[in-house]
Structure formats: structure tokens, C-alpha cells
């Protein structure tokens, strides 16, 4: 979605077609546009994508007719198994072949675009229909559109079926707000995430022997920022495009690095994924309301192991998930940080939480557990290396403005200022005009990076 053909050709053409289409034809048009989008980026899997949609929608419709019967449950299980098996096959085929195959040519397959997100939406759709929490539209095309809606197909947010709703009144304000949200997301991705990835790619691919403490730290901090602005940028673009087409789309990020604790981080980061695991794994297993006190920790363990495995098939992702399980269990057991009475204690705990999250991101971005732990070790203990320290200084000089912008944008500065200026009409207008100018300038600058061929695909598209 950060390519020039998408921005200047696909998107305007799609919007024009959508708004020309008659009211009843709009969903058909949007479904066709979504399939065209999928074909553009994953042509080899378009047939599979269409079959998955048809099967899931058919099963969903059949479940709806047999909600309270055993056949409904059987259909639900069939639908879920079908989707999960497909996901597991494509996601873990390469890793499994790598384990068992020998020889020079290990067979491998490409991952279909957005298959993880599709699977989660499909499971959510089937389950909600079975439970009766989703009221199906009269037209199955709406269901197909829910599963294939192009702004969300690549990396979410994982909206619910009932969440795919249109604005009551689509006026120019809705569309312009959506457009600006898209621009903001584009800038986050291209101007901040892609630029910071220059540092992280270099640091994470450098041999550990060439590290210094400062080099390791700048690499890890920049990766934490890069991942946020990559994924939050994508989400903003998805929300913005959805809005341009007159559809609501749930928020996926809420200033996650403002978190007070590790547990609360996941209420701010990839919100739709956390809610999905909560609603479709954690609560069905009994959630927190179990008679057995220890059962809740087992439930948490399952959720976090699955979260880890969903992100990747190597052991470092499992350890990453277990890290969150350990921290969240600790906070649950101790009641921290709420038990702290002093502001300073809460503040220190907040910093420690961020540090913990940062260390887990290092593990997340490493090739394996060994290199991840080696990286973390060098963040604290590392032989002196003058060249690596000089390189850190160079990074700060070269990319300082982007690092600073990323750190500032981790705080809700814009909402804070808007709130402050709420009653000062003239000042608010000036502020909004200045914001618009900054966004448009940043967009042009971002475009210049794309044109200079310095664009990267979305990191989260790989999950």
C-alpha cells in the first residue's frame, strides 16, 4: 500500500468506481476491487483466496441455519479446522521442510498474502455466527467482503463481522478525515519506520563480536520504534482507506509505549489481536473466572504460546511469548504496579516494563534464541569497541531527527494539544491548519523516499 501504483492509480480508480456504483452495487464493486487488490500482490494465490472465502461463507451461512443443532457445531469445527490447517500448512511448511529435508534444495512455498489475518477473521466470523453474536446480512457478498476487504487483508486490524459497518452519513468530512489518516499512516511507515530500519537492519545483521553496548542499545531501541511505526502506520492506512470507502474500522494501537505495565501494553498494542485471543481462546478456556486459581495461568500460558507461534515458527518466538506469559503472570500474582503508592515507584515500574518489552523485541527480531540472547547480553556486558561507538554516534547524527520524531510521536501530543485548545477556536484552527501542512509536507517527503526506490514492504505483512 506504499507503492506509487497503489496510491496514484489503484486507490483513486477504486474510489471512483465505488462512488459511481449504485447503492446496491457498492458492496459488489468493493468485493471486486478487493479481489483485484489481492491479485495485484499475490496473484498465485488468488484462486485459493477465493475458494477459502466461498467455503468459509458457505459454512457460515449453513451454521446460521443450524445454530442450535449438533450439525451447527460440527460445521463450526469443520470451518475452523479447514482454515487452521491451511494456515499451518503455508506458515510452517518451510520450517518443517527445513527440519526434515536434506540436500541443497529444500522445498519451500511462499506465504499467501495476509493468510494469518484472514484465518483469524474467518474463525471470528464462524464463531460469532454460531454463538449468534453476529447477525448475518441478507446478502452473502457482505460476508465475502468482510473476509476480503482490501485495506485490512494484508495486516489487519482483525475486525469483527459486526464491525464492518458503514458510516450513517458519508460526507466530505468523513472522506477527508480518512484521507488524512491514510497520509499519516503512510508517513509513519515510510518516513519513520523505513528510515529507522536502516539502523536495525545493520545492527541486527552485524556479527555480535563487532558490538559495543551503545551499538546494541541503539539497535534495540530503533527496532522497538520501527516496529511500532511500521504496524501502526499500516493500521492508520487501513483505517483511513476504510473510512474513505465509508466504512468504520477499529483502532489497533493506543500509544503502546505509554503503558504502565507489561499487561497493559497488550491493551494498547495490536489491540485487535489481543481481543481476538481473549475472545476466541482465553475466555472459551475459562478465562480468569475459573474455580481453580492455577487454571487461569494455564489459560494464559496457552494464549501466549499460541501468540508466539502465530508470529513465527522458530523457538525465539515461543520464548518471546513465554516472556510475556511470565511478566503478565508476575503482575497478576503480585498486583503490580497498582500496589505501588508512590508516583516514582510507578514511574520506575513503567520504565522497567518498557525495558522488558524492548528486550523481548530483540528476541523477536533475532534469527534464533542464541543470537537473541547474545544480543541482549551485549546490551549490558560487552568488550570495548571504539568503532561501534563511533558508528552509534554516526547513527545519532545521521538519523537523529527521525529517532527524535519517533520518540515524540510515541506520546499523545496531538490529542493533548487539541484538548488544550478546545475552547480557543482561533488557536485550534491555526493548530489544525499547521498540522495539515506538516502532514502534507511529510507525505511529499515520504513520497520522495518511495520514488528514490528506498521503500520497504510492511514488516507485519510477514505474519
Amino acid at each position: 500500500m506504499t507503492t506509487i501504483p497503489f496510491i496514484f492509480l489503484f486507490l483513486p480508480l477504486s474510489l471512483a468506481i465505488y462512488y459511481i456504483a449504485g447503492q446496491k452495487a457498492k458492496e459488489y464493486a468493493l468485493l471486486a476491487i478487493s479481489l483485484a487488490f489481492y491479485s495485484m500482490f499475490s496473484l498465485e494465490y488468488i484462486a485459493l483466496f477465493v475458494i477459502e472465502i466461498i467455503l468459509t461463507v458457505t459454512i457460515g451461512r449453513l451454521i446460521n441455519r443450524n445454530k442450535n443443532s449438533s450439525s451447527g457445531k460440527a460445521l463450526l469445527i469443520t470451518g475452523i479446522v479447514l482454515n487452521v490447517v491451511l494456515l499451518a500448512f503455508y506458515k510452517y511448511f518451510n520450517s518443517i521442510m527445513g527440519l526434515f529435508a536434506s540436500g541443497d534444495e529444500i522445498p519451500s512455498i511462499a506465504l499467501p498474502l495476509g493468510i494469518s489475518f484472514f484465518t483469524f477473521k474467518a474463525i471470528s466470523y464462524l464463531t460469532d455466527v454460531y454463538k449468534g453474536t453476529a447477525e448475518l446480512s441478507a446478502n452473502p457478498v457482505h460476508d465475502a467482503l468482510y473476509l476480503s476487504f482490501f485495506p485490512q487483508v494484508q495486516a489487519g486490524p482483525i475486525t469483527r463481522y459486526s464491525g464492518l459497518s458503514r458510516f450513517d452519513r458519508i460526507n466530505s468530512k468523513v472522506i477527508i478525515d480518512g484521507f488524512f489518516r491514510f497520509l499519516i499512516g503512510f508517513c509513519k511507515k515510510v518516513l519513520i519506520s523505513n528510515v529507522l530500519s536502516k539502523i536495525t537492519i545493520e545492527v541486527f545483521s552485524a556479527p555480535l563480536e563487532s558490538f559495543s553496548v551503545s551499538y546494541a542499545w541503539i539497535g534495540s531501541i530503533c527496532f522497538s520504534l520501527q516496529l511500532l511505526f511500521d504496524f501502526a502506520g499500516y493500521s492508520d492506512m487501513a483505517i483511513g482507506i476504510s473510512q474513505m470507502f465509508g466504512y468504520h474500522c477499529m483502532e489497533n494501537f493506543d500509544y503502546p509505549y505509554m503503558t504502565e505495565s507489561v499487561s497493559r501494553f497488550w491493551r494498547r498494542w495490536h489491540i485487535s489481536l489481543s481481543q481476538w485471543f481473549r475472545d476466541y481462546i482465553y475466555i472459551p478456556m475459562g478465562g480468569s473466572r475459573t474455580k481453580n486459581k492455577w487454571r487461569v495461568y494455564f489459560n494464559l500460558l496457552v494464549v501466549w504460546v499460541l501468540t508466539g507461534i502465530w508470529h513465527g515458527s522458530t523457538w525465539n518466538f515461543v520464548i518471546w511469548g513465554l516472556g510475556y506469559f511470565a511478566a503478565i503472570s508476575f503482575e497478576r500474582l503480585t498486583g503490580l504496579p497498582d500496589r505501588f503508592k508512590h508516583k516514582w515507584a510507578k514511574f520506575i515500574y513503567r520504565i522497567l516494563s518498557l525495558l522488558f518489552i524492548n528486550l523481548l523485541w530483540v528476541l523477536f527480531n533475532s534469527d534464533n534464541i542464541g543470537s537473541g540472547l547474545g544480543f541482549i547480553k551485549r546490551m549490558f556486558v560487552c568488550p570495548h569497541n571504539e568503532l561501534a561507538d563511533l558508528r552509534t554516534l554516526f547513527f545519532i547524527r545521521n538519523y537523529g531527527i527521525f529517532i527524535l520524531a519517533a520518540v515524540i510521536l510515541c506520546f499523545p501530543l496531538v490529542p493533548f494539544l487539541e484538548k488544550k485548545l478546545k475552547d480557543k477556536k482561533a488557536a485550534l484552527i491555526v493548530f489544525k491548519a499547521a498540522s495539515a501542512v506538516i502532514i502534507i509536507f511529510s507525505f511529499i517527503w515520504s513520497l520522495s523516499f518511495v520514488m528514490a526506490g528506498l521503500n520497504n514492504p510492511f514488516a507485519y505483512g510477514n505474519f
Binding site: G22, A25, A29, R391, N398, S448, F449, M451, L454
Partner: protein, 371 residues
């Protein structure tokens, strides 16, 4: 008048079909590409300007490209053992010796002579000069005649930056003339030639200069951080008489100006699509009808676009080969024996040393003499 429901649907459908057709025509006709090119290059320019303002010197560091504090582009070279290059060169020397053919190795400097200058400012090590030092010392020790043009830079008191374009990795035409005189001197000293070096006196040439006229290859990759480069065409002011030999062995006669293809001197609005002016001097096999002796095979790289022509002024016959561009079935040794060269000159920019180890390099074949 109110449209009927069917008519309404038809009009909308037609509008959609029209839009889609326009989109398809836009893409397939190439209009899409051309309409974005103009704006696109302006954006690349803007990107370069912004990078300059915030002093972002290393955005292209993944391809080893930086610009220095004075907006001079430099490339970083990784450390190499030089083992492959040395073994290939010595084996090649032995082959030539067996066949009574002279070998002269010429090391052409890259855009800096001090590897350590980037350590403080960029936090990065470059081994370009250290690789060259190691390689040259090893082949010298084994008895290969060498010229290291970096020594001449020091002796002549020339700042290396004056030899190079700002936005391109190649050296200037003036640098080519300067280097050719030293190479001719090397042929006299090591290969028994008797070239009159006064033919390289600067005042025996005509100069024509274009200011800020072209953007080099490094500038095209990164956006124009610095100003465009100047270009100087240099031609002998004395009479020349050549027979040029095409690849298909057909010949034509002419003078020195046949080396220069003026079609490269394009000054359109878009420096990003214009050809690289460095290549206006062509590499052509030639016979200098004003000189009686000497038949040289120049194993070259792109730097030699501006040395072969000037070197040819003192040699009867020069053929040029760039190994990275040679056909797979090209046999270098057979070619040398068949053509009866008395001297082989290898003239390489020093970043060729170790290029074989760089997976992204086009220059992997440059030291593969055993073919």
C-alpha cells in the same frame, strides 16, 4: 427528467467500464510511466535536498555509499585477503612470461587515498587503500611490474578529489590524460617502449568545458546531494591518424575525435535519464598510424574509457578487453596468443580488488585471468 432505474444502472456501469478502460490504457500504453517520471525525478531531487539539509550522509550505507562533509560521494570497500587476486595475477604473469609478453599492472586510485578518514565521521572502516597496498606489495614482491598512481598523486602534489567527479565514481578526462602519461612512462621503463612523453604535455591539447551539466551514477542512485558535475572534453591539438577496428573486424579510418561520441553530451531537463557523460569516450580497438611500434592488450575497467584513447597516442596498436563483459566462451590466453601482443597492461580501479567476494558486485570476473 428523471432517469429510469435501468438507465441509471446502465450509465453507472458504462462510467465504470470507461474508468477501467482508461486505467488499462494508462498502464499498458506506458503513459503511466512517463507521466510519473518527471514528477518522480523531482521527488528524487527533493529527497536529496532534504537529506542535504538534515545532513543525512549515510542513507545508502547498505550499498556502501556515503557523502562526505563537503558533499563528495564515496564508496566503502570491505577488507579482503587478496589471495585470489594475487594467485590469478601471478599465474597470468607466468603464462605471459612463457610467451615473452610483458605485463604491467596499473593501480588506479578510487576517490580517497586515506582509509581512516571515515572512521571518526562515519564510524565505518573502508579497506580500499589497505587492500590495494597489500595486493601491490605481494605482486611486486613476486616480480610483477606495477604502477601505483597514488604514488604519483603524492609526487605531483595533486588532491585526489581533483581527479574525480563529485557525483560519479569515475575519474575525469583530465585525470585520464594525467594517468596515460604515467602509464606511457611505465611502458618505457618496464616494457622497452620509447614513447615521446611530450605528447602528453597539457598545452598540446584543446579543452572544451561544460559547467554543471551532468549527474553521475552515484548521484542518480541517491538523489542529488551535491551540485551537478562539470565536464571537459580533451582532444589533441596535433594531427592524429587512426584505423579503428570494430567488433566484427571491419575497419574505418579517422582521427582522435572518433573516440568521442558526442551523442552523450545531452543537456535535457532531466539529468536522471541522460546518458553518463563519462562514457562519451569509447573503448575501441585501434591502430595509430603515426606510431610504428608496440602492440598492447589493455585489460581494463570503465575508468579506462578516458585512458585508452590517450595511451593510444604513443602506441601503434591497442586492443581493449573488459573481463566482466566478455562472453562466457571467451578464452583470454588464446586471444593473447592469436593476436601477438608484446605487452599486456592490466589497469584497474583499486575497488576491483576483493570485488569477487561481494555478492552484489558485477566485477566478480575481473581477476579471472585463467580462462
Amino acid at each position: 427528467m428523471k432517469m429510469s432505474k435501468t438507465a441509471n444502472i446502465l450509465v453507472r456501469l458504462l462510467a465504470i467500464i470507461l474508468l477501467l478502460s482508461l486505467g488499462a490504457v494508462f498502464i499498458t500504453s506506458g503513459l503511466y510511466r512517463s507521466s510519473f517520471k518527471g514528477i518522480g525525478y523531482k521527488l528524487v531531487e527533493f529527497n536529496g535536498d532534504m537529506s542535504k539539509i538534515i545532513h543525512m550522509q549515510g542513507y545508502n550505507s547498505e550499498i556502501g555509499l556515503y557523502f562526505t562533509d563537503d558533499y563528495y560521494y564515496v564508496s566503502i570497500t570491505e577488507k579482503t585477503s587478496t589471495d585470489y587476486e594475487v594467485s590469478q595475477t601471478l599465474a597470468f604473469r607466468d603464462f605471459l612470461k612463457e610467451n615473452n609478453i610483458n605485463l604491467l599492472y596499473v593501480n588506479e586510485p578510487t576517490k580517497y587515498v586515506d582509509d581512516l578518514q571515515f572512521r571518526e565521521s562515519l564510524g565505518v572502516e573502508s579497506y580500499s587503500n589497505r587492500n590495494a597496498d597489500l595486493f601491490l606489495s605481494r605482486i611486486r614482491e613476486a616480480g610483477v611490474s606495477t604502477i601505483d598512481l597514488r604514488d604519483n598523486l603524492t609526487a605531483d602534489g595533486i588532491d585526489v578529489k581533483n581527479l574525480f567527479y563529485n557525483t560519479d565514481h569515475h575519474w575525469t578526462t583530465g585525470a585520464g590524460l594525467w594517468a596515460s602519461r604515467i602509464m606511457a612512462d611505465g611502458l618505457n621503463r618496464y616494457c622497452g617502449y620509447d614513447i615521446d612523453l611530450s605528447i602528453y604535455d597539457e598545452d598540446r591539447y584543446e579543452y572544451k568545458t561544460w559547467s554543471s551539466c551532468w549527474l553521475g551514477e552515484q548521484g542518480r542512485k541517491t538523489g542529488a546531494y551535491s551540485d551537478l558535475d562539470d565536464y571537459t572534453e580533451i582532444k589533441p591539438a596535433f594531427e592524429t591518424d587512426y584505423t579503428f577496428i570494430n567488433n566484427d573486424q571491419t575497419t574505418y579510418n579517422g582521427d582522435f575525435s572518433n573516440f568521442i561520441n558526442e551523442d552523450f553530451y545531452v543537456t535535457s531537463d532531466n539529468v536522471y535519464v541522460d546518458a553518463s557523460w563519462h562514457y562519451s569516450y569509447q573503448l575501441i580497438n585501434c591502430i595509430n598510424n603515426n606510431v610504428d611500434s608496440g602492440k598492447v592488450l589493455l585489460i581494463a575497467d570503465s575508468y579506462d574509457h578516458v585512458t585508452e584513447c590517450f595511451l593510444s597516442l604513443g602506441v601503434h596498436e591497442i586492443d581493449v578487453i573488459i573481463l566482466r563483459d566478455a562472453e562466457e566462451d571467451f578464452h583470454l590466453k588464446e586471444h593473447i596468443l592469436q593476436n601477438g601482443y608484446d605487452t599486456v597492461v592490466i589497469a584497474y580501479a583499486q575497488h576491483m580488488i576483493g570485488a569477487r567476494e561481494d555478492p552484489a558486485s558485477n566485477n566478480k570476473q575481473m581477476f579471472s585471468f585463467d580462462r
